[in-house]
């Protein structure tokens, strides 16, 4: 059975583009809406397997989409939502991650250009995983760089941490960095020891632990 998707985007062209793209990759688009209230209705009514949501939506053109997504997740905990935006903010990423239940994505709209990676991110979120934009992670790491345990990581470990924080599995990381999976496994183990985090085999839990750690260091 194909995954059921709700799409919220106010620009007509982009909305149609997303609908086509996701249909072509075997998703079932159950609703494509263009405003905050409609989105909230669709999310709570349809209970989709995943939702692709733009932050800025009518009627107020502020963070309508984000608010609707957060409200829907309060009503249905763990509802998978991938948030798209023209700009990424650590502040919003924090709010999305705050409930700690995962199944969250936060990407720049540009990432849609790379169809393969975008669809992969949607699938990951639908499966309860995480997809954080590299830019969010870069900002997060840049502002935590001075803190003790993080400064002790080797450059390679930092690379692995970055990709892991974006929400990628060991397999995906090994592909990206041209390493063997076992080497990536070793790096992750070392990172978890250095950061004093409990190791976990579950990819999703691992990502959430890392993100929670980075956010905790900040505040």
């Amino acid at each position: 059975m194909s995954a059921r998707v709700v799409i919220a985007e106010d620009l007509h062209l982009l909305r149609e583009g997303l609908v086509h793209l996701l249909r072509a990759h075997g998703f079932e688009v159950v609703a494509a809406v263009e405003s905050g209230p409609e989105l909230l209705k669709a999310l709570t009514g349809e209970r989709p397997d995943v939702a692709v949501v733009d932050v800025r939506l009518p009627p107020t053109f502020t963070d309508e989409g984000l608010q609707a997504a957060l409200a829907a997740r309060r009503a249905i905990p763990g509802l998978p939502i991938l948030v798209l935006s023209q700009h990424v903010e650590q502040l919003y990423a924090r709010e999305l991650l705050a409930d700690g239940s995962g199944a969250i994505g936060y990407l720049l709209k540009d990432r849609v250009f790379n169809t393969e990676q975008f669809v992969d991110a949607v699938r990951r979120v639908a499966a309860g995983g995480t997809a954080m934009d590299p830019e969010v992670i870069a900002k997060l790491l840049a502002s935590t760089a001075r803190h003790e345990p993080l400064a002790a990581l080797t450059p390679r470990e930092r690379e692995v941490l970055e990709l892991m924080a974006e929400g990628r599995s060991n397999a995906a990381i090994s592909q990206r960095l041209f390493l063997s999976e076992s080497a990536v496994g070793k790096h992750t183990a070392s990172i978890f020891t250095k950061l004093d985090l409990a190791p976990s085999d579950d990819d999703n839990r691992r990502v959430l632990a890392v993100l929670a750690y980075l956010n905790a260091v900040r505040s």
């Binding site: 932050v55 502020t62 963070d63 700009h87 903010e89 650590q90 250009f113 900002k139």
Partner: protein, 508 residues
């Protein structure tokens, strides 16, 4: 006891100083008369300058001795004469080789046309009279002492009068200070004039910085996104030509085009952030500053205490000021913690940015601070820096009219009943001590008229005559003065309250 002694001392000093103004007033009057009747026009500016120096001293003393600061009341000085492109200096329709004559003309006009000059002159002319009044307590004491030495029995009564005079001295000084403020303080007109002057300045700076901003945006778009879109278009054209013959090359070009579009988007994103950060429009000042804090390399603690959301222009100015201050703290501060505090007090918005760095920030040097001041000027905002060597650096930004707030300034419009009572009393009874019991009695005394008639003073013992006559005249003048001046003073406040716009920039 000490308070009264000090007050008497002050009134003696101020009174003696005021008596010397007779000379100054006469000199300046002569200079002005000569400058107009004999055409010795060059005498006017030095005369006016002398007046200004004397009144500047009076303003200073008023603050120092009488505890009431008086600001200067002059119109803003004329701007310096500009050299024309052809090297000449212009004044009206005449050209000059040096700026001296036009400068002199401007200064002359400025001094002559400023009502404050004539108010200064009036003050200096009347000041000896008030000075004489200020000397009264000291004179009464002296008179009482002299009478006591002669062993005259009314000395006791005179002593009581002296005590009474000393007791009212603080009130006398208060009246004097109020009088000084009335003539030397800024008038509504001069306040408005200097306000307009500073608004003009702020307006120019705002327009200037806006134009610069637009130029920067234009340049960024032209060299960035626009150029990249052209490149993408060209690449796509090449792809179109290649797609049949060499699909592999076409695919490579398409990859490049996609990369270029990503770069263009990144650049546009940065540009947008510089114009108006999206978080600011989405969430308001508090969250925008929090987002800023999260992105900073320092540990930043943000406290926001705002009841209402400020208007967007204010938010934007506040945001960019904070952003600049945070950048400064990162770049020059050398500390690792920053505290940002945003709070409102009635209608003013106050921001403090504190860092635990090494301090020693020089406001004169940083162009960033200048930029902040320019941004804030449009909203009457001010910037204060405290940065002792060794830190901490505390920067305070105050935007006094930033928030909507209803103040109770309408209450001042109505004159309270007791003020009306004083005015009525002054007009109704002021004549009584002044004329029959004061001036007329003095004349009777001078011509040594035998008939005492109904002048009560003349029935009293001899040594009391003059003190009481002077007291009566002073009382009469004071009553009339109060009756005339209280409404003026009051309506001036009212007028100022009405003439000062509460929110200056928004007329939606």
């Amino acid at each position: 006891m000490r308070r009264y002694a000090a007050a008497t001392g002050r009134s003696l000093a101020l009174g003696l100083l005021a008596l010397t103004d007779m000379v100054l007033a006469a000199a300046v009057m002569l200079m002005i008369i000569f400058s107009f009747t004999l055409g010795l026009i060059f005498l006017f500016p030095p005369g006016a300058r002398m007046l200004r120096r004397r009144t500047a001293l009076a303003r200073r003393l008023n603050g120092r001795l009488l505890g009431r600061e008086i600001g200067p009341s002059y119109l803003p000085p004329p701007p310096p004469v500009r050299r024309q492109p052809d090297g000449w200096y212009r004044h009206d329709r005449q050209l000059y080789k040096t700026p001296r004559v036009p400068e002199w003309n401007n200064r002359w006009k400025w001094m002559f046309g400023d009502p404050a000059t004539w108010r200064d002159l009036l003050w200096v002319t009347l000041n000896p009279l008030l000075g004489a009044a200020l000397l009264l307590p000291a004179i009464t004491i002296g008179y009482a002492v002299a009478t006591a030495r002669q062993g005259h029995p009314v000395a006791l009564l005179l002593g009581l009068m002296a005590a009474a005079a000393v007791a009212v001295t603080p009130w006398l000084l208060r009246f004097y200070s109020w009088w000084n403020e009335l003539l030397l303080g800024p008038t509504a007109k001069s306040l408005l004039a200097s306000r307009i002057h500073s608004l003009n300045q702020a307006h120019l700076e705002t327009a200037d910085s806006q134009a610069a901003e637009l130029r920067r945006i234009e340049r960024d778009l032209h060299d960035g996104a626009q150029a990249r879109l052209v490149a993408i278009g060209m690449t796509l054209g090449a792809v179109e030509a290649l797609v049949e013959t060499d699909p592999a090359a076409a695919r490579a070009l398409l990859g490049k085009a996609r990369e270029a579009s990503s770069t263009a988007l990144t650049e546009l994103r940065d540009l947008v952030r510089g114009i108006h950060p999206p978080v600011l429009s989405e969430r308001g000042l508090g969250d925008a500053v929090r987002a800023l804090a999260l992105d900073s390399a320092l540990e930043v603690k943000v406290t926001v205490d705002l009841e209402t959301r400020p208007e967007p222009p204010v938010e934007s100015a506040a945001y960019f000021s904070i952003s600049e201050l945070l950048t400064n703290a990162v770049r020059h501060g050398g500390g690792d913690r920053v505290w940002i505090d945003i709070s409102s007090h009635q209608k003013s918005l106050r921001i403090t940015v504190t860092d635990d760095g090494s301090g020693g920030a020089d406001p004169a040097r940083g162009s960033g601070l200048r930029g902040i001041e320019r941004r804030l000027a449009a909203f009457d905002g001010v910037l204060a820096i405290s940065s002792p060597p060794g830190g901490p650096t505390i920067v305070t930004v105050d935007l006094p009219h930033a928030l909507a707030w209803e103040d109770g300034s309408d209450k001042r419009a109505q004159m309270p009943k007791w003020k009306w009572a004083i005015v009525g009393l002054g007009y109704g009874l002021g004549w009584l001590p002044l004329f029959p019991q004061g001036i007329v009695a003095a004349i009777m005394k001078i011509i040594e008229h035998e008939n005492k008639s109904w002048f009560y003073i003349l029935y009293l013992p001899e040594p009391l005559h003059w003190p009481l006559i002077i007291f009566n005249i002073a009382l009469g003048i004071a009553m009339y003065g109060a009756a005339v001046l209280i409404p003026i003073q009051h309506s001036r406040e009212r007028w100022m309250a009405e003439a000062t716009p509460r929110r200056l920039w928004l007329h939606r």
